[in-house]
């Protein structure tokens, strides 16, 4: 029982079988999403693990989206915007940068590995970059293993309503 309740680091065998990282990518319409299209037009091949959500500007990306993605089961989140100084809306990417810098610190404090969240500036012409980033991130997540928050939530909640006996048994174990 203890094992199940103790939160695993996500590496436990049951989850890693045939497991593939799941990435949610938020791309800005003008640079990074266009770059992804370019990657397509250029028939660059990259890992199929990311799912792109298009927003008009990286400035639209609300930290809630990123946390929600993790909470719903993403193993990694990728945010793509125009290079600093190149924002289609002048400053949106700077606002994004500021938020993401703070968010990174918070994620760290919440025990989510730095490699699971990535902010990338990719201009409309950098299709190659999209490919590289997608592959790199997929690889580093594969190395990290699943984050699997939904699974963890279940595990955490399993302790609700377990029978007193089990708790006692466990408690003794702790002391022995």
């Amino acid at each position: 029982m203890e094992k199940n309740i103790m939160v695993s680091n996500g590496q436990n065998e049951s989850t890693t079988q045939g497991w593939e990282p799941r990435i949610i990518a938020f791309f800005c319409n003008w640079c990074t999403y266009t770059a992804a299209d370019l990657a397509g037009v250029s028939r660059l091949r990259y890992a199929p693990n990311a799912r792109i959500i298009r927003v008009m500007c990286s400035g639209r990306i609300d930290p809630q989206f990123i946390l929600d993605a993790f909470a719903k089961g993403a193993d990694g989140v990728l945010v793509g915007g125009c290079h600093p100084g190149d924002c289609h809306y002048m400053e949106g990417n700077y606002k994004a940068l500021r938020r993401m810098q703070l968010l990174k610190r918070m994620l760290k404090d919440m025990g989510i590995e730095a490699k699971r969240f990535r902010l990338e500036w990719i201009s409309a012409s950098e299709g190659e970059r999209v490919k590289t980033v997608m592959n790199e991130m997929t690889e580093s997540l594969r190395a990290l293993g699943p984050l699997g928050l939904p699974k963890k939530f279940e595990e955490w909640d399993r302790e609700i309503g377990i029978l007193e006996e089990e708790v006692l048994g466990k408690e003794e174990a702790v002391h022995a």
Partner: protein, 670 residues
């Protein structure tokens, strides 16, 4: 209108496109369609060969009416390509176009993945996300903005000139801004043009003076755009007019002042003659310069450097046109559309040291040779080399700074043809032996190949091989004092050493040095190699990703004169379309405030670069000026209490996408 069926039911129609084999060969389209059928709210889910085709679109319209669908999803290519197409189809079907959602399973899936299972899974996920998203879609009004009828054209080369005249003749007011003292661009420097061999000046100068005299064209040379504000339909442009130190209104271009300059000889390399001769500090770029105005170059003028010049020029001018006090001025204009025709720069041959440019005097760039053979050039058209000789043998090296990983990878498209032209002219001027060293001869153009044949008949030599080096290292007596071109003749498979008197480097075309700054200023994109990026390589070659800004000529990529002119016409036509429509549709993706949810905390006020958000000081709440809002949504993400919403990108829509993408059956991960 919520646009939902009776009792508010959501009725989704889902269409997935094979796009021929583009999607069908990688994504199991049928499986996806079947899967989507099982999703909540989906009334109809079907596959089709080409959704963007008329039958495809009619399909949607039919189903909307017959099955009273109120949400439409098409899984096909990128929304950047066909979103508009399908939205209008939906509208024709009698449904508000914004109940439509597009799923990109081509650029984002089938074109970038090979594993069918993974690709199909990804397509399913993206589709599921869209299905969940459309539940939150709302009916929206398309916004329209008026188009200011005036046009700004940046760059006075042949492309800019042609675009300006086309628009002006159509009765539109045009501002033509050129950074140099005269218009004409590179074409004005050329001697003859391929393949027709008519002289560049003869066909260009008339157009130049037309520009000068056209009532609808305001020509600002020696000027630069320094500010671009606003958006399609109403741009505010700031133009810096650099001081010529010569009063434009008074100067008639008689050039007396130039003769009287205390400099008897020129001291500065003459830009127009590619630096082959020297000009004075006070000069006119070239005889047919337009406008016919004198310029003073403060960098070299004694008066500006020391302040103790006799100012003989001032006395020479009976119209008192010379004005050392002249200051730069900033003009502000309003236009609705912009055409960028900023051209190109030639490849710097010094970057390939082993071709000896700048080291051996008799190595020239093609542009220098244009001036050298030109009647109005530094030598009056006589072919005298830097060391005073008349060349008996000339070698032309193709693809200098083109098709080369070490410099530029692209083909500059014009070099083959102008090299042939130069070969012809050189023979004409000197009857020297002319050798062309080429990788391939690219004579793809109307009567280009024929021109190539003609040159073959003129006994110009063609050596197929990339030149290894140009050297003065003589190994045979016959090579002493000559330049030796070493290249493998790949047709006979031997390395040849060809001694010549003159080497011509057919330099390639590059993006302007300031292309990146221009790009930022006008808020458009550049492609990898640095040329301006068109909206679509085939379907929107002169549009950019910024509405109302078009590109023409070599700033978009290497081009010869005919192509540049054609593109300039196209750009002008695009601008005309906007102007004559009078208004343009804008994405209604603007932001709105839910008044009763806004606490008036002012966070959003600091977010908007367009000052679209202000504060109602009575109600103490934020208000959005829709006209100014560009729809980036930065303020929405910043609103700490969720009181701001962005049309088409409301939080619920994005959360439901995230949810749709991730709430997958665990086992079927990617």
């Amino acid at each position: 209108m919520h646009g939902n069926g009776d009792n508010g039911s959501i009725r989704i129609g889902f269409y997935i496109c094979h796009c021929g084999h583009n999607i069908g060969s990688v994504v199991d389209v049928h499986a996806v369609a079947e899967y989507v059928k099982t999703l909540h709210g989906v009334v109809l889910s079907q596959e089709y060969k080409y959704m963007c085709s008329d039958p495809g679109q009619e399909l949607i319209q039919k189903d909307i009416q017959e099955q009273s669908l109120n949400r439409i999803i098409v899984a096909s290519c990128s929304p950047l390509l066909h979103e508009h197409t399908f939205r209008s189809a939906v509208e024709k079907g009698g449904l508000n176009p914004y109940f439509f959602q597009m799923v990109n399973i081509r650029e984002n899936v089938s074109w970038v993945h090979t594993d069918m299972q993974a690709a199909t899974q990804k397509a399913k996920d993206l589709s599921r996300a869209a299905v969940q998203r459309v539940f939150h879609h709302k009916a929206l009004e398309t916004k329209h903005v008026k188009i200011h009828p005036d046009v700004l054209i940046v760059g006075g080369g042949i492309a800019g000139i042609h675009a300006a005249l086309t628009l002006a003749n159509a009765g539109k007011k045009v501002y033509l801004v050129e950074k140099d003292p005269t218009i004409g661009g590179h074409m004005a420097m050329f001697d003859k043009t391929f393949p027709t061999l008519d002289c560049a000046a003869c066909i260009l100068t008339p157009k130049m003076s037309q520009v000068k005299n056209h009532p609808n064209i305001t020509l600002w040379t020696y000027s630069e755009v320094v500010k671009v504000e606003g958006y399609v339909g109403s741009y505010t442009i700031g133009v810096r007019r650099k001081p010529r130190y010569v009063n434009e209104a008074l100067c008639v271009g008689c050039m007396d002042c130039i003769d009287k300059c205390i400099y008897k000889e020129g001291k500065t390399p003459d830009e127009f003659n590619a630096g082959l001769n020297k000009r004075k500090p006070i000069y006119i770029p070239f005889p047919q310069a337009t406008p016919q105005l004198v310029v003073i170059d403060p960098k070299t003028c004694i008066e500006f450097k020391s302040g103790h010049c006799k100012k003989t020029c001032v006395d020479a001018c009976d119209r008192k046109a010379i004005d050392f006090k002249q200051k730069e001025e900033i003009k502000e204009i309003s236009v609705g559309t912009i055409i960028l025709a900023t051209g190109y720069q030639i490849f710097d041959a010094k970057r390939i040291p082993f071709y000896g440019y700048g080291k051996y005097p008799n190595v020239y760039t093609s542009l220098e040779v244009e001036r050298l053979v030109n009647a109005s050039g530094p030598t009056g058209g006589e072919l005298i080399l830097r060391d005073g000789q008349h060349p008996k043998t000339v070698g032309i090296i193709h693809c200098v700074g083109s098709r080369d990983k070490n410099t530029n990878r692209w083909c500059s498209r014009t070099c083959c043809m102008y090299s042939l032209k130069l070969a012809h002219l050189l023979k004409e001027h000197t009857d020297a032996e002319v050798y062309n060293f080429y990788i391939d001869i690219r004579a793809a153009g109307k009567s280009y190949e024929e021109f190539y044949d003609k040159l073959l008949d003129e006994n110009v030599h063609f050596v197929r091989g990339r030149v290894a080096e140009v050297t003065d290292w003589a190994v045979r007596p016959s090579e002493e004092g000559k330049l030796i071109i070493r290249a493998e003749d790949t047709l006979i498979g031997v390395v040849r050493r060809v001694p010549v008197d003159m080497v011509v480097l057919a330099v390639g075309m590059e993006p302007q040095a300031d292309a990146q700054d221009i790009r930022r200023l006008f808020n458009i994109s550049c492609s990898t190699e640095g040329f301006f990026l068109e909206r679509h390589p085939k379907l929107a070659p002169v549009d950019t990703f910024t509405d109302g800004i078009f590109i023409a000529g070599a700033c978009q990529g290497p081009k010869d004169i005919p192509d540049s002119v054609a593109q300039a016409g196209a750009a002008a036509a695009q601008a005309l379309t906007l102007i004559d429509t009078g208004e343009i549709e804008l994405e209604p993706n603007t932001v709105f405030v839910v008044q009763e949810e806004c606490s008036g905390c002012r966070t959003c006020l600091t977010m908007c670069p367009y000052n679209a958000i202000s504060r109602d000081e009575v109600k103490q709440k934020a208000i959005i000026n829709e006209a100014l809002c560009k729809g980036c949504g930065t303020c929405v993400a910043a609103c700490p209490s969720g009181a701001l919403k962005q049309n088409l990108f409301e939080d619920e829509m994005i959360f439901s996408e995230i949810d749709g993408l991730l709430t997958m059956e665990q086992e079927a991960c990617c």
